[in-house]
């Protein structure tokens, strides 16, 4: 009992005594509902209902949604039934509380009850009034809900039916709102889950049995580590912070048994029909077979709907606290009470021991990973005995969310005397309710295929047809799948409303008039007629094929009454679409230009909310129909980012108008999904009107549109860039063998260099500071650290693999460690190695070590470098042996190479040139060894000289562009731009350092400015004189295809941003990219796979790595698109 008073209305339910609504002594009202707000605004709509019935202000009402400890179990928030079903007891409870308060008010005011009015939180009679709070103060009373409680006459509504702003928006718009992702609990630590390799699959004996082992010792001593938790195939790392948990999880070596290949979903029609299913006849009337046989015209069609992602913008998150065996779980679930049961099964507790506290998440539109991650968090909280938060990554959400199911619909039908006479629909829906992933991974439930019965939504066509048979084929998921907005009704309506449109065209009748001929229900007829009128429907007797140049224009109609719930189900709002499309007949691009939606939802609670739901349904479903599909191939099981799953963006929005049919006297119907249901058919019908092409498989991609037009003999499509699909041929393997043979002959008789004795190097303290500074500069000029530091290794301790055509060489340890580094090297030994490529022990170093350049360094610089290296912190790190192709693994062969290619003559200053030029040449050709990467190499691995020197080369997957000749001049390089680039890595509008060049610049940036200027002077002199910079190529129009789509989703936000000036956008336009203009795809492949992690000390920008989420084939598709669009003056990349 509450101090100050509390009056409530409760109901005794199976889960216990649950309060629906209560009011306290301050007049504050709290309402409880078992459904949740999925971003559709039901929190606001429920508050309106309560305020209306109770007679208080909207501001006085707080709505608690979905917490299992406080709200009734009203099932999952699905099928748009919150207002229609779940709100019913709440509405009665509010009315009952309002009636009670009116009675109390009458007593207090000495007024006849019939004359007392309640509004704005007060009871009023004549000139007197009393506030609700005053009526409650001092009273504690709980009333049982009267199920027969009368509710208000809608004619007297003051709050319901008026536009009301979202109650949660002010907090959201200022960053104060607590989404599930924002929940922080004292003592909380962070778990990062490691999912098995069978992404998105939920049946088969490998589920829960594929984890072979992991190496905890590899991460156990790293900062923040708390635990590895495993149960079956559930595996997670827990750490102090989320960043640590993710870093450690990614570093944990894990061994999985590889799963068997997944189902082949490349041909959905075949895959769906071939999988086991159980037919369930929903309706049978007349004699369909005979009617079809006797029809004037008959047709059989099939329609295919793809897998979709729910695609919540925020990946799922949960927090769990074991709480001594009475766990509390914070979750963004759509179904708190169902989740409570799943969690109880997961940890072996009674459901009522677990409290699920529901918080809003990103919109989910169905079953996403919200429940799964709650299971993850609870398992970890139990293992750690501490509150644990788990945040899924975007890739985890994309890979594992139960997808919106694919669906196959087969329709046959016949016309007789201009009427639809016979009709059959068979629909295959491979989905269930998405069993909790933790239950599957831990083996709590068996991984057998389970089906559910949700394929029957809106399966019955709305038309009067004498002979019909409607059959749903229930089947288990092929990949993890569950309900998504318009569950099965949207695909079923795609079939019904496309087919009826085809029949209208066949009958030579207007599609709307043809439908009306078969509709009896007056309310439905009213919707169809009014929508057509208001939308400006243009009657026709067949496709009108309106053309202007290459563009075709058309208008389509479709409607549906969304029927949800267990068959035969309940009707939600009915929606009708009239939409306009524009089809580019050359590219196949379809633009939805205008959508008019008429909707009958009975009583409207919040007109703003209803219109917003219409807009959301139109835009989201247009996106699903035109753009979206989860592709499954052998390489990428599913999209892992928005890159390979593009969705609707702002720049292709249709104009949307809506008409809400006023029926305040009829019960409120759910509006969360209805306007989505006619979408696909309406768009397909508009495309037919524009082009005569019938698209029966979604999404309606430009490829499908072009194929349809080609079948009709339309305009020839533009040539498309095509990624090379041939396997990469490694030509150099054969090539290297030949070279090696040639060298071996010469090598045999050569004398070997002698070993120089080990000799402790002078102590670091013995070198003077100016000498060490000079050494540091030489070290920076040569960027020694770049090659002599392995990934994640200690600086300068070597071990970085250098891939050459002849094998892999590992760089040496430059630190003064006596055994593995330079600690026992005399200067003489160091000098010999640097100038002649001979190690202290006498063996030859491979020419991947650029001693041919270092041979040009002067003695003082060499000694300064030696001194500087001796001051590095010694690191004991043995370097792996080189792995060379035979016979280059015989080091003596290199001695022969030296004889051929090593020029030991020092550089002599050119008196005709400036001092800066000579200094620049010394730095570029000596310590800087620019030619090591920028000069092509001969068949024998030697840098080419003469005209080929510094003419650009590909090294280890990166193109090092030309520094000499016409190429740099054409690109616009001059002394100032070179100077800027060498100091910052960036020449505005021209180039940004990436790949191995970025750390090179980081070293150069620490040189005296005069040295960088000298290098710029010298490099500028290498460019051909009198060559004007070439114009930046104009962008080419490229036929839409996979490469263009991948670019749009993965790359465009930074490379062609719609909003200029972003700090994280690319600095250089792609038309300037050296990688796109390189001779092969190699550099683009490297860039896309590895991204750019530029040194933080340079004013450069980073690029995310895509190697984990895009397949090699997708990366090549992007590369080929980039080449075609941004370098149209060049030939396509050669196949490689």
């Amino acid at each position: 009992m509450t101090e100050g008073g509390m009056i409530s209305v409760y109901e005794d339910r199976p889960e216990g005594r649950m309060t629906h609504v209560q009011i306290d002594g301050r007049g504050q009202v709290t309402a409880f509902n078992g459904h949740v707000d999925l971003g559709t605004g039901i929190q606001t709509a429920l508050a309106q209902i309560v305020a209306e019935e109770l007679g208080c202000t909207l501001e006085a009402v707080t709505v608690v949604l979905g917490d299992t400890g406080r709200t009734p179990n009203q099932g999952p928030t699905i099928a748009s039934e919150t207002i229609q079903v779940a709100a019913v007891p709440l509405r009665k409870a509010a009315a009952q509380l309002g009636q009670f308060l009116a009675g109390e008010g009458a007593r207090r005011l000495n007024a006849p009850l019939a004359e007392v009015e309640t509004r704005e939180g007060r009871a009023l009679w004549q000139q007197t009034e009393v506030a609700f709070g005053d009526l409650v103060a001092g009273h504690n009373l709980a009333m049982r809900l009267d199920p027969d409680m009368p509710v208000k006459d809608p004619a007297g509504y003051r709050i319901v039916g008026r536009p009301v702003g979202r109650v949660d928006l002010p907090a959201k718009v200022t960053g104060q709102f607590d989404y599930i992702q924002d929940i922080r609990v004292p003592g909380m630590v962070h778990g990062h889950v490691i999912r098995p390799p069978y992404a998105g699959r939920d049946s088969g004996p490998f589920i829960g049995t594929s984890l072979l082992g992991w190496d905890e010792a590899a991460i156990a001593t790293r900062p923040g580590f708390l635990a590895v938790v495993r149960e079956g195939d559930f595996l997670a790392v827990v750490a102090e912070t989320a960043h640590q948990a993710r870093t450690l999880a990614e570093a944990l070596p894990v061994h999985w048994r590889q799963p068997p290949p997944g189902p082949d979903l490349s041909d959905l029609r075949h895959a769906l029909k071939a999988a086991p299913s159980m037919p369930r006849v929903l309706e049978r009337s007349g004699d369909v077979e005979a009617a079809l046989a006797g029809a004037d015209h008959r047709a059989a069609r099939s329609y295919v709907w793809p897998y979709h992602l729910h695609g919540s913008i925020g990946p799922s998150c949960a927090v769990a606290d074991w709480n001594g065996g009475a766990p509390v779980v914070w979750s963004g679930t759509q179904n708190p009470h169902m989740l409570q049961g799943d969690l109880a099964q997961l940890v072996g507790l009674e459901p009522d021991r677990i409290e699920v506290r529901r918080h809003q998440a990103a919109g989910c539109y169905g079953r996403n990973c919200a429940d799964d991650v709650a299971g993850d968090a609870l398992l970890l909280a139990r293992a750690l005995g501490r509150p644990v938060r788990v945040q899924l990554t975007r890739a985890q959400e994309h890979l594992w969310e139960p997808r919106g199911a694919a669906q196959l619909m087969e329709v046959s039908g016949g016309l007789k005397a201009g009427h639809l006479h016979a009709y059959t629909l068979d629909t295959w829906y491979p989905s269930n309710r998405g069993p909790n992933l933790a239950l599957l991974l831990t083996g709590r439930i068996s991984p057998e295929p389970r089906s559910a019965d949700m394929g029957d939504r809106t399966a019955i066509p709305p038309y009067r047809i004498a002979h019909k048979r409607i059959t749903v084929h229930d089947m288990a998921p092929l990949v993890r799948a569950a309900w998504m907005r318009g569950v099965s009704a949207l695909p079923n309506t795609f079939a019904h409303e496309s087919f009826v449109d085809e029949m209208a065209a066949e009958a030579g009748e207007d599609p709307v008039a043809f439908r009306l001929k078969h509709l009896d229900d007056p309310r439905t007829r009213d919707l169809v007629i009014k929508t057509a009128e208001e939308a400006g429907w243009q009657a026709r007797s067949g496709p009108r094929l309106r053309r202007e140049g290459r563009m075709a224009y058309g208008q389509g109609f479709a409607f549906a009454t969304y029927v949800h719930g267990t068959f035969p189900g309940t009707a939600a709002a009915s929606s009708a679409w009239v939409c306009d499309v524009a089809v580019d007949t050359r590219t196949g691009e379809i633009t939805l230009t205008r959508v008019f939606v008429g909707q009958d939802q009975g009583l409207v609670i919040n007109p703003d909310g209803v219109r917003q739901q219409i807009h959301g349904n139109v835009i989201q479903t247009a996106s699903r129909t035109l753009l979206e599909e989860v592709t499954v191939d052998a390489i990428t099981p599913a999209p892992q980012s928005w890159g390979s799953y593009p969705i609707q963006s702002f720049d292709t929005l249709p104009e949307i108008r809506s008409m809400l049919i006023a029926r305040p006297g009829d019960p409120a119907l759910g509006v969360g999904e209805s306007a989505a249901v006619p979408a696909a058919a309406a768009i397909a019908n508009a495309i037919f009107d524009a082009t005569g092409v019938r698209l029966r498989e979604a999404p309606f991609t430009p490829e499908r549109m072009r194929a349809g037009l080609a079948e009709l003999g339309g305009a020839p499509p533009l040539p498309a860039p095509d990624a090379g699909q041939k396997p990469r041929r490694r030509r150099w393997a054969a090539w290297a063998g030949g070279i090696a043979g040639a060298l071996t002959l010469g090598a045999v008789a050569l004398p070997m260099a002698r070993a120089l004795p080990p000799q402790a190097a002078p102590s670091a303290a013995s070198f003077a500071a100016p000498l060490l500074e000079r050494g540091r500069q030489v070290f920076a000029t040569g960027d020694c650290a770049v090659c002599h530091t392995a990934q994640d290794g200690s600086p300068n301790a070597g071990g970085r693999p250098m891939k050459t055509p002849f094998g892999t060489v590992f760089t040496t340890n430059l630190t003064p460690d006596p055994e593995t580094g330079l600690g026992n090297w005399s200067f003489a030994a160091f000098d010999r190695a640097m100038r002649r490529g001979i190690s202290r022990d006498g063996h030859n170093l491979y020419p991947a070590f650029p001693y041919t350049a270092f041979a040009k360094m002067d003695g003082e610089d060499m000694y300064a470098l030696y001194a500087y290296l001796q001051t590095l912190a010694p690191v004991r790190a043995a370097v792996p042996r080189a792995r060379m192709v035979a016979p280059l693994n015989l080091r003596p062969v290199n001695a022969a190479w030296n004889l051929l290619y090593l020029d030991r003559a020092p550089l002599v200053d050119d008196p005709a040139r400036s001092q800066a030029w000579n200094r620049g040449r010394y730095l570029v050709e000596g310590a800087g060894h620019c030619s090591a990467c920028h000069s092509p190499r001969s068949a024998l691995g030697a840098e080419k000289g003469g005209a080929a020197a510094l003419s650009g080369a590909e090294v280890d997957g990166w193109w090092a562009p030309a520094l000499a000749g016409t190429a740099p001049a054409l690109r616009g390089w001059d002394e100032d731009r070179l100077f800027a680039y060498l100091g910052t890595g960036h020449a505005p509008g021209l180039a940004s350092a990436a790949g191995p060049m970025a750390p090179v610049v980081a070293g150069l940036a620490t040189l005296p400015e005069a040295d960088r200027r000298a290098m710029a002077v010298y490099l500028a002199s290498l460019a051909a004189p009198d060559v004007a910079p070439a114009a930046v190529p104009t962008l080419a129009e490229v036929t839409p295809g996979p490469g263009a789509r991948l670019f749009r989703g993965a790359c465009a936000s930074c490379h062609e941003p719609g909003l200029a000036g972003a700090l994280t956008a690319a600095q250089v336009p792609l038309a300037r990219s050296a990688a796109i203009r390189a001779p092969t795809r190699a550099t683009l492949r490297s860039l896309l796979r590895e991204g750019i992690t530029a040194p933080l000390e340079l004013p450069l920008r980073d690029m995310p790595a895509f190697g984990e989420e895009l397949s090699d084939h997708q990366i090549d598709q992007i590369a080929d698109f980039l080449r075609a669009r941004y370098a149209p003056d060049l030939k396509p990349f050669p196949d490689s």
Binding site: G175, H243, G314, Q360
Partner: protein
């Protein structure tokens, strides 16, 4: 990477902390500074939910390493309404109901603020272009565009 002393100005106040400079700015803002405005959405700069302003420039905090904002001014959604007085763009999003679930709202508001600084009176096409790299899954695009147009002083027509 080892932590370093990182100093920057966050929502008008100088802040500092021992931070691994290679962590994303988004992670640092949400974890070390307990901010809720910038959201994790994709981690690849594709959706815009994490957007912040750095020195007045819009930035995707998920792909911006924290070390890059040393000495800079960072403004988040929280910082647009320092004294509880809403920024005109925030007010416009309430007036035009520019959100359903609202998870993308941060990016929409931040991008709109950046756009209106560049172009105080953009037309509808400009607004749509400027927001095209911000993903919304609820389909609230039209209300969002109307909100931005209202904030710019233009009369939104729907």
């Amino acid at each position: 990477m080892a932590s370093r002393q990182l100093r920057f100005v966050l929502n008008g106040r100088p802040v500092q902390g021992e931070v691994d400079p290679t962590r994303s700015l988004l992670d640092v803002l949400r974890t070390d500074f307990a901010l809720k405005g910038p959201k994790y959405g994709c981690g690849k700069g594709q959706c815009g939910a994490c957007s912040v302003l750095v020195g007045g420039q819009v930035a995707r905090a998920c792909v911006l390493r924290a070390g890059r904002v040393a000495g800079q001014e960072v403004t988040t959604l929280e910082g647009l309404a320092p004294d509880g007085r809403l920024h005109p763009v925030q007010q416009a999003f309430i007036d035009r109901q520019g959100a359903q679930c609202g998870y993308c709202l941060n990016g929409m508001v931040i991008s709109a603020v950046a756009l209106l600084r560049q172009d105080p009176a953009p037309d509808r096409a400009r607004v749509e272009a400027a927001l095209r790299d911000n993903l919304c899954r609820c389909g609230t695009h039209r209300e969002i565009v109307a909100s931005v147009l209202l904030a710019s002083g233009a009369q939104a027509d729907d």
